[in-house]
Symmetry: C5
Subunit: 86 residues, 5 copies
């Protein structure tokens, strides 16, 4: 999974019907190139600036009540910034 920081939201009025009800978050990767912002769907309620854990590709489906065309999904809000050993 990827650690990322919530940088904002996007709004799409014309969208697939099974995307209705998801918040669409702009996510900057916490590690690697932070400019590679992507969009993750969220139902947990992550706020701007929070650090979140995201799963990708088809594994998103196992977090959903029913299938949806979502390749990145917020599966957790991280309690504290990670501390990696060197």
């Amino acid at each position: 999974m990827i650690l990322g920081t919530v940088k904002g939201t996007i709004v799409s009025t014309r969208k697939c019907s099974n995307l209705v009800g998801f918040k669409l978050l702009l996510i900057a990767p916490y590690y690697g190139d932070k400019s590679n912002i992507f969009v993750a769907a969220d139902t947990i309620g992550a706020g701007i600036g929070e650090l979140v854990l995201i799963t990708t590709d088809n594994t998103t489906q196992y977090a959903l009540d029913k299938s949806a065309p979502i390749d990145a999904f917020v599966v957790g809000i991280v309690d504290a910034p990670p501390q990696e050993i060197k």
Copy 2:
């Protein structure tokens, strides 16, 4: 999902039968390396220059009426350019 800008269309006369009926759009990533243009299928009717939301890999299938060999699909047209906090 990926935010991208519609840069054009491509035409393929000899193609898989289950690709018939999809518009094939050239998409430049909005974030990251904009020269990494790829092709996404579309049924919403996104126009040249519009900003779209794209899902990838097998999750495209959840936006389709029936399965098709499509690894990038336009799932929404974005209302306004994203505003990311710094």
Copy 3:
């Protein structure tokens, strides 16, 4: 999907039985780093130098008559080089 140019073929005598019958093409990406050549399976009959459209990962399976361990498949031959707006 990815646009790529057919650069050659490869031959593999010792291979999985369900790869028999596919042509294995060397493909150079049309956009991005052209040196990142990969192999795509083909049944359409794309020739050397032709520009093709390729789908990846598990979505290849929707173009096949029966499942095969193929993560890149030629789903169309492109009629003309793409013209992207700037």
Copy 4:
């Protein structure tokens, strides 16, 4: 699969219910860019500093007792650092 070194753990109190029971490890790739740290779920009990083998995307599911939104999973602890021929 990817070889990676365990660099720490992360804690997420608010998370998907089917992530409960997995240890969430920070993993630095052994090959390639070691700064591209990602998170893998673990049930084997890999410790900090250990070298592990990770599978990704939907193939993680074949190592689980039941489906979970996990796109990277520790499938083995490597006995000794790899020795690649030049």
Copy 5:
């Protein structure tokens, strides 16, 4: 699919039970960045230094007798180094 050269093997004593019986090969990409070594499972019997064809992600499953948490699998041994047109 990816062309790669077999650079060695890895041994993992503590591993998922459904990885037992697979040889785990270190693979260097033939094209692109050769330092990005990864691990592929093998049952064909590829030897050190041989050039192999590898499929990735969930498509590996179509080469297996039963599902296993493997995201890269050797599906063929290539007869001769590829000759790409310029």
